[in-house]
Symmetry: C2
Subunit: 595 residues, 2 copies
């Protein structure tokens, strides 16, 4: 099997670290009992391994084809998407009000990780649809929702987000697309958008574009952006499809990876204007974008995790099977390369970081569920603050680490890793976009140090640090060599976060430029220490289980993996805090013309 869903680790994290059982007691989450979650994960694993993964390389090779404004995906993708919709996978985590199964984010995270492992290009389509569903659900009128959501939730129609323009990559203030109000209350949308994922394709009957544009009376900058629904085919009152709308894909990009996910240049209004409907209020588009942004960024973080898991599995299988060279102490015959210490180190880096990322991602998903479903307002607020702080970490750390892991996956394969048929290089190519789209790592890091930390004087960060310290103290009290080593490394890591956090809060107002030099190193520090915290929690659980007579090797192995993480990843913390606290000025010392 080229990919097998890591059910055991997923279930461990869901139940032992992310509190699935408690979550299922919250209003609206009652369906997500451990039994139901187990069953869904098992089915999802079969679908990912049996339907999505087998067409992953084919999608890479054939790619999306553009001809005369029509984008064609490989036939196998159309078939798989049909199965995906028929089996209810598009709907499983969307609102029951519009036909969804309403499963919480925590379960959704595990399922979506599988899709991303199995077929990143394919998974992007429902991911974008999900973003559009969320936007309409949170911001649209009841009429808009009823018109579009049932078929988007089922997956019969897909959705897109039309934000970027060529002169406005990460800078939404520079958006120029415009929307002219019509006598009937609709709008005519004009403008060209770039980098539109699945902006045009042949897997679904209709494509619902959400488009950021300006009305004639809008103020300049980000305060003048409004959000519009512009469907590919107009939708009649009875729900049937009407005329082709003036929204066309004029080209697709030739990209490093995700070849089966068409990245479109979309042109609106070349033939009289794309007919659109306003979502919510005029000039509130940015606010709506921000509401959705957390979900989108979280979802991209999961891509980093999914690709890491997939790269790990492929490298592990190769390392077990490939026999080459004697053992380092000498051996009669050649050995499988997994026996070679550096291969083992690389596999452990891949495995331990993937597990740490999974734990952090799912715990954040559970906090998201609590932030929206907990009956207690204080609990909702506390969980939301945690989620807000961690979103840039999940997006930035998981994707950067996902890239590193895909890189190691190629390395484990040696020369075969450089051959495209092997598949290891595809993970590396596909992963490369994840640190860029939905906000680059630099943008995540600025969000983390600015909006999420400095703006509130580090209040939420302090609460998280206290939680980390509690875990650390608990682990330090266990008289086991692994636990002691993990606790010691975690203590050093937490101290580094404290020191770096104080530096950021203290200097942000006086010299934001110097502080911002350390933003990405701080994001990495937060990632590895948060990951180390999760692995420490996992080691504690393992310790309890072993103490209670549990014999499954999973638990002592988890503890050993946590120790590896402490000694090979957390060890970076002192170097990072030094870079953050002293390195600001030297990064800015050269004049521009010295480059």
């Amino acid at each position: 099997m080229a990919y097998t869903a890591p059910l055991q680790d997923m279930q461990f994290v869901l139940k032992e670290l992310a509190g699935l059982e408690q979550l299922a007691t919250l209003p609206g989450c009652e369906e997500a009992t451990p039994d139901v979650a187990d069953a869904i994960l098992e089915e999802a694993g079969k679908f990912a391994a049996g339907v999505l993964e087998p067409i992953n390389r084919l999608g890479d090779c054939e790619g999306a084809q553009w001809s005369d404004k029509v984008v064609t995906l490989p036939a196998e993708f159309r078939t798989a998407y049909r199965q995906f919709v028929d089996n209810g996978w598009n709907a499983f985590d969307h609102s029951p009000e519009f036909g969804g199964q309403g499963l919480p984010r925590l379960v959704s995270a595990a399922v979506r990780e599988m899709w991303k492992s199995a077929n990143h290009s394919f998974a992007l389509c429902p991911m974008l649809t999900g973003g559009a569903i969320e936007a309409l659900e949170l911001c649209g009128s009841q009429a808009l929702k009823e018109k579009y959501l049932p078929k988007m939730v089922s997956g019969e129609w897909t959705g897109t987000m039309n934000i970027t323009e060529s002169q406005a990559g990460s800078d939404l203030a520079a958006i120029r697309s415009r929307a002219e109000p019509q006598a009937d209350g609709s709008y005519r949308v004009f403008g060209q958008k770039i980098f539109i994922t699945h902006g045009e394709h042949d897997m679904a009957g209709n494509i619902i574009h959400l488009v950021l544009a300006r009305t004639p009376t809008a103020p300049a900058g980000v305060k003048g952006l409004s959000l519009f629904v512009v469907p590919k085919f107009l939708v009649n009152d009875d729900g049937s499809l009407g005329a082709r709308n003036d929204a066309w894909c004029v080209s697709i990009e030739h990209k490093l990876g995700i070849h089966a996910s068409p990245t479109c240049v979309m042109s609106f209004g070349d033939h009289g204007g794309g007919i659109g409907e306003l979502v919510g209020q005029e000039n509130e588009g940015l606010k709506y974008m921000f509401i959705m942004m957390n979900s989108a960024r979280y979802a991209v973080g999961l891509e980093g995790l999914g690709l890491a898991e997939a790269a790990y599995q492929k490298a592990r299988d190769y390392a077990k099977e490939r026999v080459q060279s004697r053992a380092i102490e000498g051996s009669a015959a050649s050995v499988a390369i997994i026996q070679h210490p550096d291969i083992r180190r690389m596999l452990m880096l891949m495995k331990s970081q993937t597990e740490a990322m999974r734990a952090l991602a799912y715990v954040v998903a559970a906090a998201h569920d609590a932030a929206f479903h907990h009956p207690d307002a204080e609990e909702r607020k506390r969980n939301l603050a945690f989620v807000d702080l961690m979103i840039p970490v999940v997006k930035g750390w998981l994707t950067e680490t996902g890239n590193q892991i895909a890189y190691l996956g190629v390395q484990v394969h040696g020369g075969m890793g450089f051959i495209e048929e092997t598949g290891a290089a595809q993970f590396m190519r596909d992963a490369r976009i994840t640190t860029i789209y939905e906000g680059t790592t630099g943008i995540q890091a600025n969000d983390l140090i600015g909006r999420k930390i400095a703006r509130e004087g580090g209040a939420t960060l302090k609460i998280v640090i206290a939680m980390m310290r509690a875990t650390q103290a608990e682990l330090a009290a266990v008289s086991d060599a692994d636990c002691q080593a993990i606790a010691a490394a975690l203590a050093t890591g937490i101290d580094a976060v404290v020191q770096a956090g104080d530096h950021i809060v203290g200097l942000y107002g006086a010299n934001v430029r110097e502080v911002a030099v350390g933003a990405v190193p701080f994001l990495r520090l937060m990632g590895i220490v948060s990951g180390g915290w999760m692995m420490a929690r996992a080691a504690l659980v393992a310790q309890l289980k072993v103490g209670a007579g549990e014999t499954a090797s999973f638990y002592p192995n988890k503890r050993k993996t946590a120790r590896f993480f402490a000694e090979h990843v957390l060890n970076e913390a002192p170097g990072l805090v030094r870079e953050i606290t002293v390195g600001g000025a030297s990064a800015l010392a050269l004049e521009e013309d010295a480059f």
Copy 2:
């Protein structure tokens, strides 16, 4: 200009750090005066920028084409290769005895860096020819040399190295190709070789294959390997080409990068046997391989440097030109992205590490020249020991860092970096092979800790550490804030190398497996501390120049760049030494079936 040879930094390193002037006093190096070197570098820069770079992307897109055992390169590559040979570039650093200009390695390093920056695929062909020339020169009979070398030195014929077989990647003991002696003293070679760079192409009149194979009486393992010359076309006594030999390219690989460098499966002996001549003595093939290996590994290290420089230049140009978003403190208008602190940090990482790598690489090249040309035997020995120690560092550190820099180059471009037309992604794809071929980073690191350090009880390492400490002490005595900061970071780095080196020497015999877990982290530690040492030497020179009234901004900028390197790269040293000294056991703690 898409690429401009960094002449100022190259000349600085050649003259101020690598001792070009002193080198030109050595017997056999007299031609390499600073004036001659300047002139050659300038012409080489024009050739790289004007001829090789303009066809780099075309080569990536069109690639090498295979049809019925014939490999066709883009016509532009054939034209460029003709110019390359006609202008004497293939011959410039080869032996005057066979028509070369005989320039030393130091000058050669700078010129070859340019080719690798401008066109990695193209540069591989003369690199392999150079390896084959060296093998024949060092190990072949006078008759063999006279038969092959003049046309290989001119570049009229190219060369290849046929080592790897599908069951024997890095494991030469597993090689099965065989050579049957014939009555006339020649051999018939049979076997299939994979991953043969430029094994077949249409840029040159003949291709001279060097092939590792076993004679019928050879012992098993690496002690039974012999080296043979098997030309594509047999060569008549008068030097004219004879019959097509039984050496055929049966397929080429579909690779992640270096698309215009055909990676061939070569089949010898499908039609009666490839006619070959023995190089040197039977069963001495491995020894000959080792002689060449240092050069080949060094040359691949230069690829890491060349790609880093190219990726830096492209990212820098984009960052200066791309205007997006306001300055972080606020600004009236949008600014060029080079103004954004994280972009600046990434460019500084690219620039400072590229400069540190260049300094180390050229200093090692100069030591190579001294090791072979110095009149004093002790000096030759001392320099050779330094080169031997540093070769795995140059190969491993420069290629791993080259990959990281190419990755950052994509990141600086944002979404445009993921679009193939931009060219940033090609550097990342092309660079990916450099940590694999000519021995993976893991193999370099094992060579470093084993053959180069533990086997001699760390003797050479101690000498190098003493040299580093001398630089550090000199810098610490300078009362300049930059110099003080660099000296402090370098002191920490050197201490880390000492501690890690002691650990390696002390434990190697008792537990080589645990020590080897830290091999790659130690290689990185040696790389960053050696690079920091070079940047410290550069800062000292800059300090002297500024003190002497030199007004060029190059010198203070070099000092600032060195400080950035100290605070953003050398800061990793404490984390690495911790990983090396405590992380061995945890990497080996899991059983194989726990993966």
